[in-house]
């Protein structure tokens, strides 16, 4: 592991269950809060007539502090020992789900925060289902505010049993369920003396157990969606990022959707001409022939690639208007963009056909493209399986292709 490897963790859950407070406390207990930032938070807490408000570390908007809620997602970096973490705070209000998903799509690990006084609430379940949809690798549940239940083992055990069952129902392999008091710091960075009955990992232990960004498996076929066709000193260059696979000089590639075969004459990175480039690299290609290229076409080394006829999508919808059967939406998949028709909507659990997917809901959607698009099924964690929906000029939702016909 190199020094700057980063472990990303999103904290989700219902409003006021203590997500922001936890982050502030964690920063404080791990010496990640600079004295001038702590002084600012102390001062602001006093001005609001409160005891030290750890949530103010991430709740920086005046509106957030006045109303005591998180409006928008925040990313905070912290260093513990030699490891670097990116902690993403996600708002728990229903009306800020779009901000929650903006944060959650940037994480590889998750924490569901649960207030022991309130138990599982609407957004707890919604957020859990979203984490599942996004393919978050590892999820823990923190049972927060244990101090308000006298650090009771019986209360904790009751929740632990219930949650194990729910996590299974939501399709999330259960990892850890940890009793904490974010405000008092119990089982946050250090083991709580108030809960001697609990011998499992602390919150910090969980963080340390979280993996780094997944090393993507080597995938067989090249996917190079064209981003920009750019003329440089009279030369036509095809710019983009290798989403999967590799490209090398002399290789013959197929241009999707035209099916034309082209040869790579040069692979360019800044002033360098390189022999080959791999996954994740933003490069420029010089190809045999200069005409007939445009953004949204995909270069591949796979033979017989066909445009999707139908795509089954595990989808999340966030637009204020519901997603209805028969609707036309714009679907983006990396640099590809095309209108799609919604053929069928079904609920997530029993797969019954329903007429619409409401705001903030997760479900299964069958989409039929009106123009050629290359979509890969999710199975191999393929880059071209992630779809983003646009409606009325707004980003309206997202989904993962589970099946492509």
């Amino acid at each position: 592991m190199s020094e700057r490897d980063l472990t990303s963790i999103v904290i989700v859950g219902h409003v006021d269950h203590g997500k922001s407070t936890f982050i502030g406390r964690l920063l404080y207990d791990t010496n990640n809060l600079a004295p001038d930032r702590l002084a600012e938070i102390k001062k602001a807490s006093e001005e609001h007539g409160r005891r030290l408000e750890f949530a103010f570390v991430t709740d920086q908007f005046e509106e957030e502090r006045e109303k005591n809620i998180t409006i928008d997602t925040t990313q905070t970096f912290l260093k513990i020992g030699e490891r670097h973490f990116l902690i993403i705070d996600a708002p728990g209000h229903k009306e800020y789900l779009k901000n929650m998903i903006t944060g959650a799509t940037q994480a590889k690990n998750g924490i569901i925060m649960l207030d022991v006084n309130e138990g599982v609430r609407e957004q707890t379940e919604k957020h859990a289902r979203i984490l599942k949809l996004l393919g978050i690798q590892r999820v823990a549940v923190f049972i927060n505010k244990m101090d308000l239940k006298d650090y009771s083992e019986a209360v904790f055990n009751q929740y632990a049993v219930e949650l194990e069952k729910l996590m299974q129902e939501w399709g999330i392999p259960s990892t850890n369920i940890i009793p904490i008091s974010a405000y008092n710091g119990d089982n946050v960075a250090g083991r709580s003396a108030k809960m001697p009955w609990y011998q499992g990992p602390t919150a910090l232990d969980y963080l340390n157990a979280c993996g780094q960004e997944a090393v993507s498996q080597a995938r067989e076929f090249l996917r190079f969606p064209i981003q920009i066709v750019f003329d440089l000193d009279g030369r036509r260059l095809i710019m983009g990022r290798i989403e999967q696979g590799a490209v090398s000089v002399g290789q013959k590639l197929t241009l999707f959707p035209t099916g034309r075969v082209v040869e790579v004459s040069e692979v360019l990175k800044y002033h360098e001409s390189v022999r080959s480039a791999g996954e994740g690299e933003s490069i420029a290609l010089a190809l045999s022939g200069a005409d007939g290229f445009e953004r949204g076409q995909v270069l591949t080394d796979q033979l017989g690639v066909k445009p999707a006829a139908r795509v089954a999508v595990h989808a999340f919808w966030a637009s204020p208007d519901p997603l209805m059967v028969g609707d036309e939406i714009i679907v983006e998949c990396r640099t590809q963009s095309a209108p799609f028709i919604v053929e069928r909507v079904s609920d997530e659990i029993e797969q019954r056909g329903i007429s619409q997917l409401g705001t903030g809901e997760v479900g299964q959607v069958m989409l039929k493209p009106k123009a050629a698009m290359l979509v890969d099924p999710e199975s191999a964690g393929a880059a071209l399986s992630r779809l983003v929906f646009h409606k009325n000029g707004q980003v309206a939702g997202c989904g993962v292709a589970s099946h492509v016909e």
Partner: protein, 267 residues
């Protein structure tokens, strides 16, 4: 792929996305360490030939070394700089001492930027702000719309999922695009070292003090430091307990100063 290469490749992707969406675009360069990294990334993205201009918002109160660097680098790397000033405000004697920092920053930076966007017809501006610099910047989007009053509607920001961004809408005047939003101060310095990028010598200690963040001379305070070289700066960052913008007065003059500044269109 190592961490810095991953950041670099992702930022280049963002820069190219911005250029595709908004061909009439400008790059805001303050001559500080962050926007110099961004400038270098733009050069890389377009193989050494920028298809858009570089914009410098000149308050006339910048350090002498910054002006020298501006001329030297533009010549060496071969790009054009548009220098934008709020001359009217300067003629009227605008200064932080006279009008206060909020008014001064707004007049000489925000308003100068707005005039430049208007005059050049920019649909988007690339900026080198980072989430770990300030709690308000931590809330930013990569593609951040500004309305016709140049305001940032921070309580109603668009969704950003898997590097797909909201497109220009009827209520949007221009976009602020932030390609290095997820870089940290440490990333910037490590990348500066790896790519051998030039930096203004104000960042290195003289007589026990150095600047960690630079802007206008009168509103920047140096921090105590013995770091006289780039490796020493990296070493200092591993152990320091002060925050990066501790020496930047305009962030702290009053509560929510940064929020007020930014909601009006500040960087």
């Amino acid at each position: 792929m190592d961490h810095l290469s991953e950041l670099e490749n992702r930022s280049i992707y963002t820069i190219r996305e911005a250029f595709h969406q908004y061909p009439k675009m400008g790059l805001l360069w303050s001559i500080g360490k962050d926007s110099t990294v961004l400038l270098h990334l733009c050069m890389k993205a377009f193989l050494g030939k920028l298809p858009f201009p570089v914009l410098h918002i000149d308050t006339s109160y910048k350090f002498k070394q910054m002006y020298e660097q501006r001329e030297a680098l533009a010549k060496e790397w071969g790009f054009k700089v548009i220098v934008a000033k709020n001359q009217q405000a300067l003629d009227d004697g605008m200064s932080p001492e006279k009008a206060g920092r909020l008014a001064c920053c707004t007049a000489l930076k925000t308003n100068a930027l707005q005039n430049a966007i208007q005059e050049n017809g920019f649909q988007a501006i690339l900026l080198g702000i980072r989430r770990d610099e300030h709690g308000i910047r931590a809330k930013e989007r990569v593609f951040s719309p500004r309305n016709f009053n140049f305001q940032w509607d921070y309580t109603n920001q668009p969704m950003e999922i898997w590097e797909q961004y909201k497109k220009m809408g009827e209520a949007d005047h221009h976009y602020r695009v932030h390609p290095i939003l997820s870089w940290t101060e440490m990333d910037i310095w490590q990348y500066t070292q790896r790519e051998k990028l030039p930096v203004v010598d104000l960042y290195f200690a003289k007589e026990g003090r150095r600047f960690r963040s630079i802007g206008c001379e009168r509103c920047c305070q140096p921090v105590e430091s013995t770091a006289t070289t780039l490796p020493e700066v990296l070493e200092e960052l591993r152990t320091t307990t002060t925050s990066e913008r501790a020496g930047r007065a305009q962030d702290k003059e009053s509560a929510y100063m940064m929020q007020k500044l930014r909601s009006l269109g500040y960087m």
